[in-house]
């Protein structure tokens, strides 16, 4: 028989890191070698309970294990949050198209992300940093609701800010006592002064409303629609462009995405819903 595309491979959760009150990172070790490209997604099965799509947050260069950062948002993610180390899981994929890193070479990379949207961004960021000299610079404009809600705090508040070639700014919607940084939505820290827009690509990931306003801002800066990469969240289920749940216009987000250029999808009415 042909290979069964619905069959997951087995894996185990070997570590769980609390990132924020609602977000955890699960370290998953697959039984078999499992390679992916940054931006692609996997279907993670909690056996007997359900399956949900996630973009791994670790670098694809790490081939023995994979980090999956998950926000408690629905039934399956709620159950995953109750899991302990040693939990067996199933993995299908990887699916779809990731970021076309080869096309990013020699350019400014303008990353705008918010909330749990930092998860796929971490995978991309680590990939870019591995070969940082290949890019003009990596600009990151990252937001969270409160300082507590930032994920990857240890890296974000320290080491990542000091990497040569990286220009990182953070913002929160609501500050707490210790926060010394910017307060406001992520677009309030976006500026275009040190970036040659004609030689830049933008990458956006986050809640729909944030993606919408970030995209508008980037267009205002002069980014061409074809140079704005959006990581779309839809209800991906089969992962192979058949079941229909993730359709966005003529596209199956699972197969043709999840990374799209704004140019590809801008004419559909429901992209931000």
């Amino acid at each position: 028989m042909n290979e069964n595309p619905y069959q997951p491979i087995a894996g185990e959760i070997t570590d769980i890191i609390d990132e924020s009150p609602t977000i955890k990172t699960f370290v998953v070790v697959p039984d078999k070698e499992f390679r992916f490209e940054t931006g692609q997604f996997v279907e993670l099965t909690l056996p007997g309970e359900g399956e949900a799509p996630f973009t791994p947050s670790s670098s694809p260069a790490e081939t023995k294990k994979m980090d999956i950062t998950i926000m408690k948002a629905g039934r399956v993610t709620g159950l995953l949050h109750q899991c302990k180390k040693g939990q067996k899981v199933g993995i299908r994929g990887p699916y779809g198209n990731g970021y076309p890193i080869a096309d990013f070479v020699g350019k400014y990379i303008y990353v705008v992300a918010g909330g749990v949207g930092l998860a796929p961004m971490r995978s991309l960021f680590l990939t870019l940093v591995d070969r940082i000299k290949d890019f003009k610079s990596v600009v990151c404009r990252l937001g969270a609701r409160t300082p507590q809600d930032f994920i990857y705090k240890d890296a974000l508040f320290g080491p990542w800010q000091k990497i040569a070639g990286v220009d990182m700014k953070l913002t929160v919607d609501e500050a707490d006592g210790d926060w010394k940084g910017n307060v406001g939505v992520v677009t309030t820290i976006c500026e275009n002064k040190d970036v040659d827009i004609k030689n830049a690509v933008a990458v956006v990931c986050g809640p729909p409303i944030m993606m919408r306003f970030a995209t508008l801002k980037l267009l205002e800066f002069g980014f061409a629609a074809k140079d704005i990469y959006l990581s779309m969240e839809k209800n991906m289920s089969c992962g192979i462009g058949k079941c229909g749940h993730c359709m966005l216009g003529k596209y199956y987000v699972c197969k043709d995405g999840p990374v799209f250029t704004y140019e590809q999808i801008k004419d559909y009415p429901d992209i931000w819903d």
């Binding site: 997951p8 839809k234 359709m247």
Partner: protein
């Protein structure tokens, strides 16, 4: 193509049933459904004048099936050869559409393929198309030209059986004692019947011959209010998608069995409210009118863009099945008129 003649159906169907599971059309109320053939039945199966109510997808992609077992991999259940008698041209074309999805190069669905390979297709001519039939609008015909193993056409004193494949040829050769040569006059009778029925269909659906390609009509209806108006009569029963031979959305879900976990695959419907909803609650098609629009866009625009054919064969099952009396033909006509009106307004402005 090669054809043979047989005066009665029963010996032919008996021969098929001896070799494989055979399903035949059986009248149930106003419609035909497929039932397992019973050689002992007093009344032999008849040629259905119109497509059955059952969409052929039921045989290839059942309502619910096992898709995977975890952690051990299991082979899907063994599919034995089976035959269906009484499929129509629209049914065969619906399989062509399903093949695009489930047999495409990149990701093949092994369960679908296994059933497809084991299926023996005996189609038949439509003698009296139903009120809801509109296959002629999609280049469909009341008789099959390809995609079958054998095709049966009722003529005076018997049946003309046409061979459409190697499998069909083997069958006819193996059972050559059942068949005789087709008298030439019967072939022309069959062809006359065919063009007569075709004419009827075309006359009935003359209103669906639009000046503008259907794709353009539907593609330009993003802003149309027609969908919200239609939504007022829709009770969201999902019958249209279940009964549609080309709708193929499904849902994967996990279950816990006694000693293993299973991933199941079950029909789903884009008409369901939470169909496209994500865990956080975002839903691109919360509004019913938007779901009706998406379904038509998928059928007449998106599928065409991707696979080069419409995802509708004009079988009219959705018209028969709709509890809210929505008629896809009326919707398409309304959209066509809207587009024409908009065109007129535009040309006035430019003048």
């Amino acid at each position: 193509m090669e054809a043979v003649f047989i005066s009665k159906l029963r010996p032919f169907l008996d021969a098929v049933a001896e070799e494989m599971e055979l399903y035949v059309p059986k009248k149930s109320g106003d419609y035909y459904i497929f039932n397992r053939y019973d050689p002992a039945a007093e009344v032999a199966a008849e040629v259905n004048n119109i497509r059955a109510c059952t969409p052929v997808k039921e045989f290839l992609f059942p309502l619910r099936e096992l898709a995977a077992v975890f952690p051990e991999t299991v082979e899907p259940e063994d599919v034995k050869p089976f035959a269906i008698f009484g499929l129509k041209d629209c049914d065969l074309r619906s399989m062509e559409i399903l093949d695009k999805v489930f047999a495409e190069e990149e990701f093949k669905d092994p369960f679908y393929l296994k059933r497809r390979e084991n299926m023996f297709i005996i189609s038949s001519d439509c003698s009296d198309p139903g009120e809801s039939c509109f296959c002629s609008a999609f280049d469909g015909r009341p008789y099959a030209s390809s995609g079958f193993d054998l095709n049966v056409a009722k003529v005076r004193d018997g049946f003309v059986i046409e061979v459409g494949s190697e499998k069909g040829k083997e069958f006819v050769e193996k059972h050559s004692q059942l068949f005789t040569e087709v008298p030439g006059t019967l072939l022309s009778e069959r062809d006359e019947n065919r063009s007569e029925t075709q004419k009827q269909l075309e006359q009935k659906n003359a209103e669906l011959e639009f000046d503008t390609p259907l794709k353009e009509i539907v593609e330009n209806s993003q802003e149309s209010e027609v969908f919200d108006v239609e939504a007022k009569n829709c009770v969201e029963c999902q019958a249209c998608t279940r009964i549609c031979p080309t709708c193929h959305c499904f849902y994967l879900y996990d279950t816990r069995q006694k000693d293993y976990f299973a991933k199941m695959k079950m029909w789903d419907s884009c008409m369901r409210q939470a169909y496209a909803e994500v865990a956080g609650g975002a839903n691109p098609r919360k509004v019913l009118g938007d779901r009706i629009k998406h379904r038509l866009m998928h059928k007449f625009v998106y599928f065409l863009d991707r696979y080069g054919i419409d995802m509708c064969v004009g079988c009219g099952r959705c018209i028969d099945g709709c509890a809210g009396e929505m008629n896809i033909r009326t919707v398409l006509k309304k959209l066509s008129e809207e587009l024409k009106d908009r065109g007129k307004k535009k040309s006035k402005v430019t003048k």
